[in-house]
């Protein structure tokens, strides 16, 4: 069905307006703030690069960036590979089980975010289900310390949070690939891995890029999970630091500068991802 250009503009305008007003305008305001002066809850108009210099020169922010990457990168790797496996199963292998598995993926997204984080505490805590069971079974004599309030539970909880998102993105792409393509490749002599790598993944490369980028953005920006499940230092990520700067100290200029620093990290990550996927021939030259 073809729609007229005028109708398309009419249909797209409200959402475009929402994106501009709700996304670009606040971002613009934050960008302006990042050059402002601050002294304990008082911000005043100015134009200087103090906050950007502070971010680049203060080792605290390097540590915070490292903490962020140390959580986000393993989260993305496991989430996207796990999501791809489930999406592949749903698209090509599942027959009767497709509906229940799909329902499970969707249902897992419905629980409250905070409830899920607290559930992880109940599961992984010093007196939680895992430690108690292992102690009762005589496998360990005292609770495993790193199961809670370290990077490990933060990564596990974030995988749990973002796996359904990645799965749905990847399934949407994989379900558009005719199953006969893989069969034809196998008939022509390709092995299982070769067929996957050269026939299935490249057409879904754009979705792979999208899922990887989105999960990274979500993980790096998350300030709740690290605060509730992380340890003292490991909970200090870019997300929690921006939250502290803005909501605790009212330091909008520093928080804004950190936000744009985080955008820079996102851009570098995305560029590296695109180059990596293209080099491995997993992404079409021109993303569709």
């Amino acid at each position: 069905m073809r729609i007229s250009r005028r109708l398309a503009v009419v249909l797209v305008s409200p959402l475009s307006l929402l994106l501009i007003v709700g996304g670009l305008v606040p971002a613009g305001i934050l960008f302006v703030y990042s050059f402002y002066d601050y002294s304990l809850f008082r911000i005043s108009p100015a134009f200087h690069l103090t906050w950007y210099r502070e971010i680049l020169s203060n080792p605290v922010y390097r540590t915070v960036t490292w903490n962020t990457l140390a959580i986000a990168l393993p989260t993305v790797l496991i989430t996207v590979s796990g999501g791809y496996t489930i999406a592949y199963f749903l698209a090509f292998k599942a027959r009767r089980s497709r509906t229940p598995v799909f329902a499970l993926v969707v249902i897992s997204m419905l629980a409250s975010y905070l409830a899920r984080i607290y559930a992880w505490r109940t599961l992984m805590g010093g007196n939680g289900i895992i430690n108690s069971t292992l102690i009762a079974a005589g496998v360990i004599h005292k609770p495993i310390g790193w199961l809670i309030f370290s990077r490990v539970p933060v990564i596990l909880a974030e995988i749990n949070l973002y796996l359904p998102v990645a799965t749905l993105i990847l399934f949407a792409s994989l379900s558009g690939i005719p199953p006969e393509l893989e069969e034809a490749a196998r008939d022509l002599g390709a092995g299982r891995v070769q067929a996957l790598r050269r026939v299935i993944i490249p057409p879904s490369g754009t979705a792979l890029l999208g899922a990887s980028a989105l999960c990274f953005f979500l993980s790096a920006g998350d300030y709740v999970t690290p605060a509730f499940l992380g340890g003292v230092a490991s909970s200090q990520t870019l997300g929690t630091t921006i939250s502290t700067a803005i909501t605790t100290e009212g330091n909008y200029p520093l928080g804004s500068a950190l936000s744009f620093g985080m955008v820079l990290v996102f851009v570098i990550y995305t560029v590296v991802l695109v180059v990596g996927l293209r080099t491995a021939h997993l992404l079409p030259r021109r993303a569709r």
């Binding site: 605290v60 505490r121 010093g126 809670i148 309030f149 340890g231 003292v232 200090q236």
Partner: protein
């Protein structure tokens, strides 16, 4: 002088819709006898204060909303309450001055922040006409410049209504009572300590542990003994709680054996959850006092309800219910006889003046005036953020 009659002044300063109607009825009746003094009094009261009733929006600490304990009070005065919880004291300025802050009628200020908040324009001046029991407080709370709008002013910036000591909560079934703050930096307690994400409280504790007066923390002391104590302390800390509820959860779930920035409140709240082993103590170096004051925002959309709430926090049975529930001190002497035994036992009410001026480290100063060689909120925030990250 303060009013020491325990039975006087229960719900003073509180005007419900019912009261308003009664007054209106009385006024109508009195209109038939314009010479009567009753008519004059009723009309004056009517003109002085609008009716209480409707909404009340609070931005306060979890527990200070008194949602459960004040249920009858709200019902009596036809008030519906909305509440958002404070995560830490700096939240108050950030939220009230930020977008959406204008919806709140009242919030809470620790004694270290009253003048900062006043200077930031988020507090409205209060008179005894607004909150009558302000004049009935113990002299220290009534007269201290901490809560006065200006020196020798007859106005207050906030209503100091609940107070006590910051100490250590500990699991009495697992560890002995900590007699010194230094228990928290003992390497054998690595991973067994919890704390609250707040620069002011943690740095004040470190200063007390190192014997440094809270009114005279210099940059040298901050970068020396205080930083040293906090570094050792954070090495023992398992996790940093972002709110009071999380501190309580960690204690109730027995994830930590010691909780710094401890409150007697946690003992009562843990008991309410069936956990009797969460104890509270003040180490031998002393605790530092906290006194939380409720304040009215200059833009309060429901000003009369907020003023009624402030009066209820201070006086009569409502104040006693609040203190019994929180297990914290009251500031109006007439409330003391109405307290239960537990709430009465935590404060030496027979000599409050001596306790708050000599024993408890109550006076703090993180808002130095020009030329004072002491650290500011900015300095302590920076140090806390740096230490947490490494």
């Amino acid at each position: 002088m303060y009013d020491d009659n325990p039975l006087r002044g229960a719900p003073e300063g509180v005007y419900s819709r019912r009261y308003f109607l009664q007054l209106a009825g009385g006024t109508s009746l009195a209109a038939l006898f314009p010479a009567s003094t009753f008519a004059r009094g009723a009309q004056a009261a009517l003109l002085d204060r609008a009716a209480v009733g409707g909404e009340l929006d609070l931005f306060t600490w979890q527990g200070y909303d008194l949602t459960g304990p004040f249920k009858n009070w709200r019902k009596q005065h036809h008030i519906t309450q909305k509440v958002k919880y404070i995560n830490n004291q700096f939240d108050v300025a950030a939220i009230l001055r930020g977008p959406g802050g204008k919806q709140y009628d009242s919030s809470s200020a620790n004694q270290a922040y009253t003048h900062l908040f006043q200077s930031l324009g988020i507090m409205a001046p209060l008179s005894a006409k607004d909150v009558p029991s302000l004049t009935k407080m113990y002299p220290y709370f009534r007269d201290s410049p901490i809560w006065r709008w200006a020196p020798n002013s007859n106005k207050w910036n906030s209503v100091p209504w609940t107070w006590g000591a910051i100490g250590i909560n500990y699991l009495s079934d697992k560890v002995p009572r900590p007699t010194s703050w230094d228990v928290l930096i003992d390497p054998k307690n690595r991973g067994r300590v919890g704390t609250f994400d707040d620069a002011y409280n943690n740095i004040s504790i470190a200063a007390i542990a190192r014997g440094i007066p809270l009114t005279k923390i210099t940059a040298k002391a901050l970068d020396g003994p205080i930083k040293d104590w906090l570094t050792k302390f954070l090495a023992n800390v398992k996790t940093v709680s972002t709110n009071l509820g999380d501190q309580l959860t960690l204690l109730v779930n027995k994830e930590v054996d010691y909780m710094s920035v401890g409150l007697s409140l946690f003992t009562s709240q843990a008991r309410a959850q069936g956990i009797k082993d969460v104890a509270f103590t003040v180490p031998r170096e002393g605790g530092f006092g906290f006194c939380d004051a409720a304040f009215l925002t200059p833009w309060a959309p429901h000003r009369e309800n907020a003023l009624a709430f402030l009066e209820a926090l201070l006086s009569g049975k409502t104040a006693a219910v609040a203190a019994n529930n929180l297990i914290q001190g009251v500031t109006v002497p007439s409330v003391v006889p109405l307290l239960n035994r537990t709430a009465r036992s935590i404060i030496p009410y027979d000599n409050v003046q001596h306790y708050v001026t000599k024993q408890l480290k109550f006076e703090v100063n993180y808002t130095p005036k020009k030329g004072q060689n002491i650290v500011s909120f900015d300095d302590i925030n920076k140090l806390w953020q740096t230490l947490k990250t490494h």
